[in-house]
Symmetry: C2
Subunit: 391 residues, 2 copies
């Protein structure tokens, strides 16, 4: 996370809300990323990830190559009438226009978002898992512009018994017989941040542009270090509470469960922080290599803990009997991924390239991850099947 | 779990409360297990585990060899004036004497209890963890006699919005400036049980005898499949609620955390079910063996899931390059451990006996468990260092 409140880009990119208002007029009509930039796993709702070779070409992921995770069609929101409500355990409930929000100190920071279901498809080897069948592309690193959630909360006056902050989206998800918004909550301590950690942002900008509809226009949360599901898009309401959100996506999903019955949700806590993870992006699964030197590249993300850093990425061509340390590239910043590259010797016996990583907070990619019914937090050794031909 | 309500031992062991009342007169004065039966990790409060070679001699663990985990001195409770209160989200709050409780259908079932901190001391290799420094003996399999919590709850009338059942002990734990009871909560679904699962018991008997003071006399909960901390001893109060217990031992302990700051507790859910685990009991760490055949034995516990069974226990003398399947002994019953034995060939090169297990619910003992600040759920490959001498 590179946070530079002193060097805001707001005048440049948002021009006191004018550009935001300008873009807003095409909201819902604005051009979506063409399909060639992303691989759509589902189109209604829109769920897409980039090809991995595109993903790893730059430390900052261009918005057109940034994964999209939605549970309903993008809502059409009129920025002129948009209001964010802040209620619950606060002294003074608020109803804020976009201009009200933008009157606060602006922050621009870089942080990686990743879906808890990234690499989900790998669980199917052990037992079928439902949900979007993500490869390893449900991750991206962007620069986010917005205001600190903590400042909005302080303005509302958080009451002493508060413990969690709920987010509700303006999207409309058909669930059983009803329609619900996507929702989440985060612990109050995370919402408020502390020390070097700004906590969570309320964002209106991504990579120097106004947020696109796919990424939550006009307003979303950005919770560095947490799984993407906690960075609620199309944010419409904040509720301060003494308990976690009862919204389905906090209470009954995004948890590690063996089954999906009522007791399983009751027994499991919500996932918040993402785990260390890595993948190969330079080669597709099943790639044909020539015997000799193979140049590999990929991404690595340390666990979502403030100050966490990649300790090492290692590559093996013999299923872990020996490992070669990869070289890290890209910036080394809080809550951000890095890229890596390594040259290894492959022979006709090499059937698989294996990658694992470890981070400074004690996080490591294990040999095997326990299967879970929703297919979350797959961060076992990344395995790239290859065929090697004699030169 | 072998539950046989039709064959109760009540008349034999409790004789309509008479024996219970008789034993009660020595409550607080009754003989404690002599130290030779258990290794005391702390004496105030009483925390003790058996030597592993004693632990694995029988499928049912004799009470004198059953681990003791307490957070305060054993409370002195007069069974004549004892009342269990049942309150919160119920239609009819109850205040029950022991006789009231025993007027319900009696169940006798066998279930394993294990401390979430079993094998904690092994975490110290990676980073010091506080708490009782358990070896692998904080586990035991006993026969429990009591009534179904579900029947008591149905008598009180659980309200529709209820989701969790809190337990409060009568012990007095000094915590900071105050005194608190040990407490826990379990999801309502677990409290009520379903189908073949009786759910939780309110117990007054253990291994055919009245509960000892160390194990919660006169009344404790027994929650099969859950870590021992949810089976609250010296039970005095049950509260039905829509939220989990705010008691320290549910809200701010018995969770997997990297640090122990406020945000860490907020981000982590309570641990309920225990994980598959196994250990060697036939030999001490550092044992001297003779080259050739070595006869090993130990225990194995499948994950705390109804119907879960041990799939296999495997032993390796070469750090996992090859494995030999162990033979299971002891009964094969819900929520119960089994014992195992295996003969392996050791040589002067053998420095370590390694054991791992896998169960029918997909649980497995991993190569390495992520370090956590409280040292819970250590179930990595069990490693027994040995020295082998030429014959």
């Amino acid at each position: 996370m590179t946070s530079s409140p002193e060097l805001t880009r707001r005048q440049m990119i948002l021009s006191s809300g004018i550009l935001l208002a300008g873009v807003s007029q095409t909201n819902g009509l604005q051009a979506q990323a063409p399909e060639k930039d992303l691989i759509f796993r589902t189109t209604d709702p829109r769920n897409a990830e980039p090809a991995l070779n595109k993903l790893i070409t730059s430390w900052i992921t261009p918005t057109k190559h940034f994964y999209v995770r939605s549970h309903a069609p993008n809502p059409k929101i009129d920025p002129k009438t948009f209001r964010l409500s802040v209620e619950g355990m606060v002294d003074k409930p608020l109803s804020l226009s976009l201009a009200d929000i933008q009157s606060h100190q602006e922050y621009t920071l870089t942080a990686t978002l990743t879906c808890a279901g990234n690499r989900r498809a790998e669980f199917n080897k052990e037992g079928k898992v439902g949900g979007v069948q993500w490869d390893a592309g449900a991750i991206g690193n962007a620069t986010w512009t917005g205001v600190a959630l903590s400042e909005i909360l302080r303005k509302a006056g958080v009451q002493a018994s508060a413990k969690h902050v709920w987010f509700k989206g303006l999207d409309e998800i058909t669930k059983g017989d009803g329609i619900i918004p996507f929702g989440a909550s985060i612990p109050l301590e995370k919402a408020l941040g502390a020390g070097d950690d700004v906590g969570a942002l309320l964002c209106y900008g991504m990579n120097g542009e106004t947020l696109t509809a796919d990424h939550g226009y006009p307003l979303r949360t950005l919770v560095p270090g947490y799984i993407g599901a906690r960075s609620v898009k199309w944010l419409g309401k904040i509720v301060v509470s003494d308990v976690t959100s009862p919204n389905h996506y906090l209470a009954n999903a995004y948890k590690l469960v063996k089954k999906t019955e009522s007791i399983d949700w009751s027994e499991s806590g919500p996932i918040y922080r993402y785990l260390v993870n890595a993948a190969v992006g330079s080669h597709e699964k099943g790639a044909e290599l020539e015997a000799g030197k193979a140049d590999l590249a990929g991404y690595v993300l340390p666990s979502g803990i403030l100050g966490g850093r990649v300790k090492h990425v290692q590559v093996s061509v013999n299923n872990g009997k020996s490992w070669k340390k990869a070289e890290l590239t890209g910036e080394d910043s809080d809550f951000c991924w890095q890229l890596w590259k390594a040259s290894v010797q492959v022979t006709e016996e090499t059937k698989e390239i294996v990658v694992r990583a470890e981070d400074s907070s004690g996080g490591f990619m294990p040999y095997r991850v326990p299967w879970n019914a929703k297919g979350y937090l797959q961060n076992s050794w990344y395995r790239l099947p290859v065929t090697v031909k004699a030169t």
